[in-house]
Symmetry: D2
Subunit: 335 residues, 4 copies
């Protein structure tokens, strides 16, 4: 049993890590760490753990974490965990970072989108944690940058089709509200959002645009995220001009034939976030609109699992040399 620490356990991705790792047969929790909620009982911050996890949330002191754990998950806001990551790496831990701090390989791009490079030089050591595209590098990494939720769905939907389509890509993506995190605000206050849909950060202003473009090799992307009145789930619809007449679905099937978590749905069956909810699974499909010369690729994931914490565990499995699906076998809780 490998001891693992979760830092930022009181947020949604942190809570989801706790849930997944409690059910993982090869690891044991070596403490739950938090910042603003440190000192509070776990079960009062996360009532879903009442009767299961005793004790309190502890402050994230690197020397303590390093004395207990071999792997640390960092589920902290951007810019707030990078120094801790560096410290834990120095102490010999493997670090799985769920923030955006190390996702962009180019420091200048990071600075453009996020304001400053929190630990200069460290990003060279990070591997982008999308196993379906960087499996081998992840297995050798000691610092994994877990992808954003939108990039995960979008890249998995369209990447295998790039040889068959042109530019630009239009990405119209829809997310559940948990993607906005656990800090309350007017825009996520129930009555403001429960009975409507809205776009936000449109026209290339959302930071995930950079991450999507990086992973797609520099494609030009118009990215439009939306908030949908549901808690979990991302549906990404990617439109592109067709450069072939057929073969789109075959390309997906070929790309994902051996992938344990990605399913190309039968012809005509479309992804629905309901059917992946609570699981690490990805449902993809593609259709061509011959009348308009357009291709539409779609992917549905659970933003907190394959879009964050499940993917983080998948990366940890690779880093530890475990079978990639360990602890991640659950199917969606439908309905």
């Amino acid at each position: 049993m490998t001891p693992v620490a979760i830092v930022g356990a009181s947020g949604y991705t942190g809570a989801e890590l706790v849930r997944l790792l409690l059910g993982h047969p090869e690891v044991e929790l070596a403490g739950l760490y938090a910042r603003s909620t440190a000192g509070q009982p776990v079960a009062s911050v996360l009532p879903s753990l009442a009767g299961v996890v005793d004790g309190i949330l502890e402050p994230a002191a690197p020397e303590i974490i390093a004395g207990r754990a071999r792997v640390a998950f960092l589920a902290l806001p951007h810019g707030e965990g990078a120094r801790l990551a560096a410290d834990l790496l120095e102490r010999g831990l493997k670090v799985i970072d769920l923030s955006a701090d190390f996702r962009l390989r180019d420091a200048a791009a990071h600075t453009t989108w996020y304001g400053h490079d929190p630990v200069p030089g460290l990003r060279a050591r990070a591997v982008y944690g999308l196993p379906e595209r960087h499996r081998a590098e992840i297995a050798k990494a000691d610092l994994v940058a877990v992808p954003g939720c939108y990039p995960t769905a979008t890249v998995l939907a369209i990447a295998p089709l790039l040889p068959l389509v042109g530019a630009p890509l239009i990405v119209d993506a829809k997310s559940g509200v948990s993607g906005a995190g656990r800090t309350p605000g007017l825009s996520t206050h129930f009555p403001e959002i429960a009975e409507g849909i809205r776009p936000y950060k449109v026209a290339g202003t959302h930071r995930h645009t950079a991450e999507i473009e990086q992973e797609l090799g520099g494609a030009r992307v118009t990215f439009t995220p939306h908030l949908v009145p549901m808690t979990r789930g991302i549906l990404s619809c990617v439109y592109a001009p067709a450069r072939a007449e057929r073969g789109f679905r075959d390309a997906l099937v070929a790309a994902y034939a051996k992938e344990p978590f990605v399913t190309v749905l039968p012809d005509g069956q479309l992804p629905d976030t309901t059917h992946v909810r609570g699981s690490n699974r990805v449902h993809v499909n593609v259709v061509a609109d011959a009348r308009a010369g357009t291709v539409l690729a779609m992917a549905a994931i659970d933003n907190l699992v394959k879009g964050a914490s499940g993917q983080a565990v998948q990366c940890m499995n690779l880093v530890l040399g475990l079978p990639e699906t360990t602890g991640l076998g659950a199917v969606a809780a439908f309905p």
Copy 2:
């Protein structure tokens, strides 16, 4: 007070017509008519009318309707009201038809998309009931074909921008579940849809594609509708290649400066269906993504009001020579 009849009063667009016309100062209800629910008390089929509307739903006999009403609203499924429309027109009534039977001007196109032309020749007499684009014709019409919900939002978002953009148009639209009507089915059963989002009838297979293309003068459109877990509302996002560098929002402002129901939101404020819910209002805006050379035009409406019954009343006002906003002044019930 003009006497008006509502045929198909037990469905959602019918119920919304009752609501709007009960509050209209210049008309009086001359009977509520239905098919499968005929003979049942109004208040048991529509409990929201308990204590307000007595009596039963009556069968839709044209001679009875013609003896009571000067205007008839037909809120029936496609193909099921056309014969009645013809009969009522012959008896001298004005007919406001909410079905798709007379929306497509071209009979061959109608046959392609809907299977057959229910009353050959009659469509020549119909006017497409989008007042913002066909106001003068509607005022002279005796048969109005009220637009579909998706076309209303889509056309109002993009039509004024056509001179500034290229092809193809990508329309990614999201609808509340009431758009699917009141007949229960597995796909709209609460647990199947309440916590997820899904696309349906993609790649040009949804019938509204034809209607959108007709109103946009033949533009090629890739249309993707989605069901969102909310009852009311449509958000239409229309993407197009930019053929200008600026002037997009100005074009919307110019087009809608005098329109009573269409508001171009301030720069940077994006449409949200929450803010038009229950009203006949339309919120539009546009942004340009200079990086990708793309324009995104957006419109939010309530699918049951501006997308159906409110627009029908707006058309009736024009037909009767009343001020266009009569009975339609309500703002959204927010939150």
Copy 3:
């Protein structure tokens, strides 16, 4: 046209007052006033008013309000508007107060439940604004204390039955989330509440307990409020020991025969908040459980209309000598 002011226009009950009064044929808005949002454009705080109401939210200066309006609605948190109420009354305005400041007739009781009496002596002048029970006094009042949402539904459900039932009363009430107001917090953050139901402030700790007991003449009440994942609506279920064998529904029918907003549903048809949503209507019914010797009375209202702003307008109509239903005729926006 009577000029009326709305103070606290940026909250949910304030916004609902704006909506209702914009549609009222006998009044005109004489300014929208706010505290923390003063100075901001109306349409940015309440986007549902974009294109309809221009201008900014103004600070609530009594001399300005008094110079413009004859009636002032105060939609402010408890304790924050009482001084303003006193000031406006002195300047000759009628005040319709939606807070709890003047609902309890007994100053000591108010102090027990709310901490202090904001303007000692003023409560003697206030009338409890439940027209179905205090119509005549309201018509003569210049200070109306609009009832709480839970008391409105609860009192209307059970008051006519008190002669037929014993003690104690069990009130199990369920509310939409808008009842919690517009200030964001963790408990009303969408992901925390969208897919669950929870009780809160149980066992007589919710302040509305005092108000319910006052209006029911001192009955002992166990009151349990719940938050339900919906925006609007209150369903109140009131259980009591039966002291008669029949006559329960007849007692409701007799009590409400002439009430314009209260409908006793047909025997066997149960209240559903869906059917009153957006309207000032009340649906009530009662059933007896002979096996257990228990009576269950139920009422459904929209918490923001009959439970707050609609009832406030109803009271204003009485105060101004207008027909009580003026501007309040709308039926529920179903679905």
Copy 4:
């Protein structure tokens, strides 16, 4: 690995059994059986299993099931699986029945509530599958009648308190819509239920009343179920006259100290279905309202897990002599 069959796999409790048993380390699925959907691919009926479970749903032929499985779960509507249960028992299988066919010990009571006794005599062999109260009998049973969802929550909330309270009991319970099953109907059509709450089958007319009264030793119960706009979850609030002044929470703590799935929440923390969703866990608590002399006991469960399929697996574990928590360790998927 014990081979187990699931009959009725296409409904919600059947689907949940598949999910739970796929993650169970000591059993293997020996076929998924259905009635109306027999012959269809599993992944088209349950898209959440796409890429995970191949093959088709098979007709429920007892000889086939008996040849493959040692345990059969029957997740069929009331009255439709009893004959199959008898047949499978005769062939030596253990049967875990999720219907109401064998829950009531008294045949006359069953006939009163359900119309007829489907296999006379068989109910004598059945054990009521609530492990917290009938653990020893379940371990020796070959026919287990898994309790209803409402009775599970209600009995667990109040049973330990019966010595401390009087009669009658008022049970005000709230359920997610999945409790109504997967067959579509108007009352569960999304727009009819998504934004409101309603009671149904009130005043002792819901069949679960009999089951609750049986398990509470004949207490008189007024039972009111409600449908809440959420997919999963039951919250049961049980009111009773207090016959003691204190000791209520202690009685719960004593009753559940060693129970693996039941947690008495800390004093003042109230059950919320959000915090048990997707898990087999039960959150209970109790408060006394000294002013009114009333006790309120509350329990929250997931209706599809502890209220159906999870409890069925818990019973199977007992029947097979496995540790009771095997395969059921997951905590709630929060949020």
